[in-house]
Amino acid sequence: MQLKNLPRFTFKKGIHPPECKSFSEHQAIEVLPTPDIVRIPLLQHIGAPSKVSIKPRAEVAVGDKIADSGGFISAPVHASVSGKTAREGVITLPNGRRVTTVPIKASEEQPLEGDTLKEAFLGGDWSINLDEIDPTSLSTACSEAGIVGMGGAAFPTHVKLMRNEERPVTDLLINGCECEPFLTADHRLMLESPASILAGAKLAAHATGAENITICIEENKMDAVQALADAIGDENIQIKVMLSKYPQGGEKSLVMAALGKAVPTGGLPLDVGVVVMNVGTASSLARMVLRQMPLTHRIVTVTGAGIENPKNLIVPIGTPFQTVIDYCGGIKDNVSRIIAGGPMMGFSVTDLEIPVTKGTSGITVLTHDDIKQANTTACVRCGMCVDTCPLDLVPTKLALAARHKSIDTLKQYSVDACMECGCCAYQCPANIPLVQLIRTGKILKKMSNN
């Protein structure tokens, strides 16, 4: 396949932030040595918290279920190390939610660590025989294995995989865009285990009944395009190369770019017959079916100018940030901000005891040079925020309405449509915290409804 000449797809507007991928894009995936303790939060996904299903001071093995799903949009949680559980604690996650955690003290004997883990996670044979798999069983199995979207939002995957006769799925998009600056976990996965992604994609298509599988990758990762193209061979799976533009990997932008369909405001890609699945999620799906592994580990990019040795690591869920950062040589002196996720949509953290969750795609450590030290001035009504918003909103009006607590204006300008991608605030010359104000606006509107 002549990769260079493939057409490029994209959506309207958006921004071109510096990519900053070079810190970690050439670091092969490593396994974090088993931490002494993990604290597994019971709410790592969008939806209802999970319910603890084991007693304190119980012996658990890696992969054992420790909490049940707490509702339809929820997911169970599994032990990510073997060891002994301790009394439940409470922790504030980066997104500000206070959740219960189940601590597990790791024992000496770990059946799954080091090279064994890496081989099970990335290597080996990933061929599947779909005829032997009942498509309807996959959604339930996914729910049992606690699989959620690995791209960041952590939407429970079994909801996406459910067959719905009224809303048939035609297209499955496998999202390998990774448009957040700095993050490279998906990139490395595509390079090091393309076959697991393909296996997951086939399983997802099998479950949803999607006829077309398309893998979407930004053009700044042509090596990943090559790796997947090689793995596909002559199978009926398409690759689409997307322009490197933020937020190309956002579900709405991706559906628009790859298929030219607009996801209805307030709706899901499912409403236009599309399921979008992150490459990491697809790979977890394959691991569940072929390795009988529930979601216990994830790949985390530890990166930024403020970290000594940037890495891509396989990390047990629940590992404290501090442990991960220490393994990467620690933090430099000129650090200015530590972010769970990437710089565009991640959350800044101060407490490094917080655990890695299923949605933690990266830990980005920014220095003083990365953060613009400029004062906020008055809005000069330049309209740059309007010119960058991929959803055609008017961010400055939303921000103003939030400041003035004007609920009618918030409604008139569709505040709830905002996906908080941050393009507007990135571009604003007046340095106005538009996204923060819009979030406030959403809360104000919600409160006024009650």
Binding site: P18, M256, R337, L391, V394, G422, Y426
Partner: protein, 323 residues
């Protein structure tokens, strides 16, 4: 470890800033200022100097009195001064520059609450004030001066000669209009210099390209009709390059604060200014129409913003009836 907490995004465009935008405009004005100095000599430097100084001082004093942090570091005040100076005739008395600047900043901007709050373009507010107050000193005769140091200055402005069929043959050719070897306000004579800076601004996205494009289209199309109908003695092309049409299109109408925020609104705003300029030039007693056209369209910007709210991609948010 001393880390800061903030809401996402944690990245912002380092190259972009309010001050940078204003500095961009000043940079873009360099060719125009250079031509101005070439044609009008030290009159040009004098007026720009006085206007910049007075504008900055007025802003500082106002902020001091109002208890706001006193600084002109966003560069918007000095920029107003430059634009105002460039839209005055070279022979304008010094008190005109001073009073125009004070009025531009005080009434055009600060009274509304400062940068970002004003409805009208401050430079045009200042110019309108002096034009109406000192009509005698700033009329058509202010441009002509028999004993002037340069040839160009001894002629009437192109648009003044164009008003009368009898004098219309004195209308300069395309070349003098392009390089600026003609009479006019300090910054309007060279179309080439203006285009150079203007296109730079549009490429840098400091100015919204829809506005100048709209002004040009909005002016040229009616001008062509008027030409066919015999309402005007010069061609649509001449109208485009004569007077302050291009200067207004690229440097005055594009003032972000006093123009609409939506792309569609910007189009309507630009086209509206263009049409108004042609109507004023053809049917009013003024040979020029840019200032009033801009001020008139400024006044409808809030309406334009409200009429042109874009529909979000995927449609408006469905309001749940029971939520």
């Amino acid at each position: 470890m001393n880390v800061s907490v903030a809401s996402s995004p944690h990245f912002s465009n380092m190259k972009q800033g309010t001050r940078q935008m204003m500095v961009d405009v000043i940079l873009a004005l360099i060719p125009t200022i250079a031509v101005s100095v070439w044609i009008f000599g030290w009159y040009s430097i004098l007026h720009i100097g006085i206007c910049v100084l007075t504008c900055s001082l007025t802003e500082l004093v106002w902020k001091k009195l109002a208890g706001m942090p006193a600084s002109v570091s966003d560069a918007s005040g000095p920029l107003t001064g430059v634009i105002l100076a460039l839209s005055l005739p070279w022979s304008a008395p010094i008190y005109v520059s001073v009073l125009g600047s004070i009025f531009a900043i005080a009434i055009g901007k600060m009274i509304f609450g400062g940068l970002g709050m004003n409805l009208f373009n401050p430079a045009m507010v200042g110019r309108a004030f002096v034009m109406l107050s000192f009509a005698g000193a700033l009329g058509a005769s202010a441009y002509v001066y028999d004993g002037a140091p340069a040839d160009a200055l001894t002629q009437a402005t192109p648009l003044t000669v164009a008003r009368d069929v009898a004098t219309a043959q004195e209308f300069p050719g395309l070349w003098p209009l392009l390089i600026g070897k003609t009479n006019g306000s300090l910054g309007e004579t060279s179309s080439l210099a203006i285009l150079l800076g203007g296109i730079f601004l549009c490429v840098r996205r400091t100015a919204a390209w829809q506005i100048p494009t709209g002004v040009v289209l909005g002016a040229v199309i009616p001008a062509a009709f008027f030409e066919l109908l015999g309402f005007t003695a010069i061609t649509a092309f001449d109208h485009l390059f004569a007077g302050s049409l291009l200067f207004g299109a690229f440097f005055i109408a594009t003032d972000p604060v006093s123009s609409p925020i939506t792309p569609k609104g910007k189009w309507i705003f630009g086209v509206g200014i263009g049409i108004l300029i042609m109507i004023l030039r053809t049917f009013s007693s003024y040979p020029e129409g840019v200032m009033f056209a801009v001020l008139l369209m400024n006044s409808v910007v809030p309406l334009l913003n409200r009429w042109t709210i874009p529909t979000p991609v995927g449609g408006s948010f469905p309001e749940k009836p029971n939520a």
